[in-house]
Every structure is written in C-alpha cells, then in structure tokens.
C-alpha cells in the first residue's frame, strides 16, 4: 500500500513542478526553454524504445526529427492544412520511416546499424538543405500556431500547457508499453536475442515495432518543434543533435521512462543555469557525462532508487 502511495507521489510531484514552473519563472526566454524541454522529452522517450529497451544503436534521430518538422511545415504552409491535422501526417511519416528503417535493421546489427542510421540522418539533412520545395538552407517561415476556434496557442504559456498535455499522454503510453508484454520482449532482445529466438519468438516484428515507435515519437516531437519555432532551417538537424538525444537518455537512465524524462530536463536546463561558466560549461558537462557512463551506466535515476528496491526489481 505504501509502495503504491509512493508511486503516485513520484508521478504527482514532478507533474506539479512542471505545472508550476512557467508560473514561477515568468521570463519569456525561460518559458521557451521549458517548451524545448518538453519537445526533447518526447524524442528521448521514443529513442528509449529502440536504443534503451531493444539495444539497437540509433544515431539518426535528427533525421527522424527533421522529417516530422518538415512534414508539418510543408503541409501547413504550402497546403494550408491545420497544424492539428499535420500531426496525423507526421505520425504517418513516422510509420513510413519506422518500417523503412526497421526492416534494414533486421539485416544489420550493432555498429552496422549505427552506421546505417548515421547515413539516414545525413541523407535527410543534405536533401532538405538542397531541395527546392523545402526552400534549401533558407528554411521555411511562418508556420501557423495551433488554434481551437478563435483561441490561438501563440502565447508561450498556453503553448507550454498544450505541449505538457502531449508529454503526459505520450509519457503514459511509453510507460505502459515499457511495462507490457512488448516492453519485456524488447528488453529480452537486448539482453539475449539468441535465447529469444531459441524459445520460438520472432525477433523481427518487435524490432520493427520498436523502430516505428521511435520514429513516431520523433516525428511528433519534430512537428511540435516546427510549430513552436515558427521558422525552421536544416542547420538544426545535425549528427550532433542525434548524439545529444543519446546523451540525454544515457545521463538520465537508459531504459527507464522517468530516467529519460529526467535526462532531457537536466540536459536542456542545466546549460542555461551554468551560463556563468561560459566557455568551460561544455567541457565540464561532457566530462561529467563520460564519468556517468563509466561509473553509473544506469544514469542519474539510479541514484534515486534505494538499494532495497533495486534488489526487488532484480527478482521480478
């Protein structure tokens, strides 16, 4: 009983903080940072399915993110479709990428897959910065905001709460999937795929599924990003962005939904708090991440878990 009580508190307290934060910090710049944090949380939750749970290295997340952004940007500016509907468009785009990237992943493993996904990310970046209909390196301007009737979410505060709703829904879905039959199958493939095959379970389908989930989450986050920025250029979607997503997941706690959320929050907000260190910030941060990888492979979330609990989880 007390365990369940604790669990509810673990969800409620962060949620309360998330709701209160933009009211406490009224600075518009910081509200923008909070919105970016929410967007990154969605991407990292998606990445967690494929890299965290299934153990397949995906270094092309920036490409997925870009496809989502450009789907929304092109549909809403060129065809005048409502931004709400473009999210459906970007979910479909996620499905296409997921199946398209997922099937190759059946043939290649480990580093080969990491290289394939790097190739995918780079191809997407080069194409969107050269195609005419994506307006090349100039990017796309004037992406309309979400509206309900006459109410428009162009105010940062309103947009923050709208995106928070997205994060809560996608977070709950991610948590449910992680602790479902699918989630356990993903983890089993990561830990020992030969054993999974040996007991007669098809490993092809869950891999494609994990890829598709990752692509859908990435694309939806890309859409939200495009609507938030109102103006997107290809220079954002670099290999460095893909690695930043991986770092967020690693730092927070690979394979764990609360860990991913924590990682995205820390990696987005900490730079702003450490502005005073100036030039030294990135090098300090990189060394810290490296130390976490070497000595705490399960991320900072593993500091929060008590020893007793981790033993119990092991038995489960």
């Amino acid at each position: 009983m007390s365990d369940k009580y604790k669990k509810i508190l673990m969800v409620l307290i962060p949620l309360m903080i998330a709701i209160a934060m933009p009211l406490i910090v009224t600075d518009n710049y910081f509200r923008g940072i909070f919105i970016m944090t929410l967007i990154y949380i969605i991407v990292v939750l998606g990445l967690n399915f494929i890299t965290g749970l299934t153990g397949q290295m995906n270094l092309g997340t920036a490409g997925i993110f870009a496809m989502g952004s450009y789907t929304t940007a092109l549909l809403s500016t060129k065809l005048g479709i409502s931004p709400w509907l473009t999210i459906i468009g970007s979910i479909i785009m996620g499905l296409i990428i997921g199946v398209g990237l997922g099937y190759p992943s059946l043939r290649v493993q480990g580093v080969y897959l990491a290289l394939t996904t790097i190739g995918f990310g780079e191809i997407v970046r080069i194409l969107i910065s050269n195609f005419k209909f994506t307006n090349g390196i100039m990017g796309i301007r004037d992406i309309p905001a979400f509206t309900i009737g006459s109410f428009s979410f162009d105010d940062k505060l309103a947009r923050y709460y709208l995106y928070l709703v997205f994060v809560v829904i996608m977070g709950v879905v991610a948590y449910r999937i992680t602790n479902s039959k699918w989630g356990r199958l993903f983890k089993a493939i990561r830990d020992n795929y030969e054993a999974v095959q040996a007991v007669g379970v098809d490993i092809a389908k869950p891999k494609v599924l994990a890829f598709t989930l990752a692509a859908i989450y990435g694309c939806v986050a890309g859409s939200l990003y495009a609507v938030h920025m109102e103006f997107i250029t290809p220079s954002v979607y670099t290999f460095d962005l893909s690695t930043t997503f991986i770092v967020m997941m690693m730092l927070g706690g690979i394979g764990s939904v609360p860990g991913c959320i924590l990682g995205a929050v820390v990696c987005t907000i900490l730079p702003e708090l450490l502005r005073d260190f100036g030039n030294w910030y990135w090098i300090i941060f990189s060394i810290l991440v490296l130390l976490v990888i070497l000595f705490r492979p399960n991320g900072i979330i593993s500091f929060l878990k008590t020893r007793k609990k981790s033993v119990k989880e092991g038995v489960k």
Binding site: V111, L115, T243, V247, W282
Partner: protein, 288 residues
C-alpha cells in the same frame, strides 16, 4: 572534357586516400579492442591544431620539426586515451562504448576551442601551390596526399607483418585470450594500437589543412565518410578500407559531372546503405 575528367579523378583519388587512411585508423582499433572510435574526427582536428596552431604559429617552430613533435604528442595522447577510456569501455555494451567515444570527441573539440580559440588560423604556404604537367594544372596538395598516404599504407603493412610489436597486435586482434596465454600484454598492445591510430589521425589532420583551412569544423564529414569507406570495401579489413576509400573518393568527385555539386556528399551515404543492405561483407567479400 578529358582534362576535366582527369582533374576530377586526381582530386577524387586524393580525397579517396584520405578516406582510406581514416578507415585504416579506426579499423586497427576495431580489430584490437572491438570498439568503434567515434572521436576519430576530433583526433584529426587535434593533430592539425597541435601542429598548426601550437607549434608553428605560437611557438614558431619550423615545419618539419613541428610535424615530428606533433606525431610524438598524438602518440602519447592515444596511449593515454587507451588506458583511461578504452580499457573500461571495452567491457560495456555497444551503446555505452559508442556514446563514450562520442563524449570523448566533444571533450577534445571543446578543449581545442578553449585553447586555440574559435577563429580560423591562417597557415601560409603549408603544402600549397600547383603543379603544371602540359595542359593539366594539379593542386600540389593532392599529389602530396597521394604520396604520403601510399607510403604510410606500405609502412603500416611492413610494421604489422615484419616487426614483433606488429605481429603481437595482429595476434590480439585475432584472439585476445590466446594472445594473453602466449604472453602478450593485451593492454599494452591495445595502447600501442591506439597510439598508432592517433598518429595516423594527426597525419590526416596536417594533410587536410590546405584543403579545408585550420578551423573548428575542418574535418567536416571525413569521419563518417571513412566509416562508409570501411563498409564499402569490407568492414574490419584494412585492404577493404583502402579500396572502399578510393572508390568513394573517385565516385564522389566524378558525380559532379552528372548531378549538381551540392549532392556530392550524398554519394558516400547511399553507397554505405546500399552495401549494408545488399552486400554487408563489402566489395572484397572478406568475412569480418
């Protein structure tokens, strides 16, 4: 027309040799420790800055001595990285080791930025100039790259096959346990491998200074294209990397005849994905 093609082929060959060197440099680490070094681009950057920004511009040392000093420094940096980072990473799953080397790359980039600043550093007269052969005008840098790379490849083959240290390195890459039983110090051998790899990175760094200038993003996509070269030729197999690198360099250069130059960079990635899907063992068909 024939002249343009010939010039493109020479330029492509030079870039191809650079990709070939990149693929050799990470392949020896991959063979020795099963790690893919994603920080190699930054090691190339570090080598170029150590030579150009530190020794030549700041200390005013003459070019040949600066090259030697840079090679010694990069070797020991490589050995240090091997003991501090690669050894613990070797025992972690792939996701961690890849991220670990990526973070190492970021640390090096930031270090370079903090020490030598953001602005491009001009390095006048280093490997620059043109060579005229009849009607043909060739960039002198290309010729030097091709010669240095060819010598380096040959020297490495001799080192790996004829010397005791080289034989030990090959033994470790084939079977770590057996190597340890035969009395080979696996850690030390891996450290030497990493050191040699860092030295090759440094040489690549100084070779590309005339092509891309001495600046923070000088390495561009060389690192990733080097991975593509390895896959096209045969991953984890040194001759494969050389063949793949030259092929990618020449095809990339010739592609500007058919498609606009801006799509040049895409050639290597398409080759990478096609080969991974259709023929993962590469052109030479070597089983890794």
């Amino acid at each position: 027309m024939a002249q343009t093609v010939l010039q493109l082929i020479i330029g492509g060959l030079a870039m191809g040799f650079i990709y070939a060197l990149v693929s050799i440099e990470y392949t020896i680490i991959w063979n020795a420790s099963g790690l893919l070094n994603f920080s190699h681009e930054r090691l190339i950057l570090l080598g170029a800055y150590l030579f150009g920004a530190q020794f030549v511009v700041r200390n005013g040392i003459s070019n040949p001595i600066a090259v030697v000093l840079m090679l010694i420094c990069t070797f020991f940096i490589g050995v240090l990285i091997s003991y501090v980072l690669m050894r613990p990473l070797r025992n972690l799953p792939l996701v961690f080791s890849v991220t670990g080397t990526i973070m190492l790359g970021r640390i090096i980039t930031e270090g370079v930025r903090l020490i030598w600043g953001n602005n491009p550093i001009p390095l006048v007269g280093w490997l620059e100039g043109t060579i005229k052969a009849g009607e043909l005008v060739i960039n002198r840098t290309y010729i030097i790259i091709i010669i240095v790379a060819a010598v380096l490849v040959a020297a490495l083959q001799i080192f790996l096959n004829k010397t005791k240290v080289g034989t030990a390195m090959r033994c470790v890459s084939q079977n770590k346990k057996a190597a340890a039983f035969m009395g080979i110090d696996v850690d030390r051998s891996s450290a030497i491998t990493m050191g040699i790899s860092a030295v090759i990175c440094g040489i690549i760094g100084i070779l590309i200074i005339p092509l891309f200038q001495l600046k923070g993003d000088m390495t561009g996509m060389i690192g990733i294209k080097g991975f593509a070269a390895g896959v096209v030729g045969g991953f984890g197999y040194i001759p494969g990397g050389i063949v793949g690198g030259i092929l990618i360099g020449v095809l990339e250069s010739l592609s500007t005849l058919v498609v606009p130059g801006i799509y040049k960079d895409i050639v290597s990635f398409i080759l990478l994905i096609v080969f991974l899907l259709v023929r993962p063992s590469g052109i030479l068909g070597h089983k890794a």
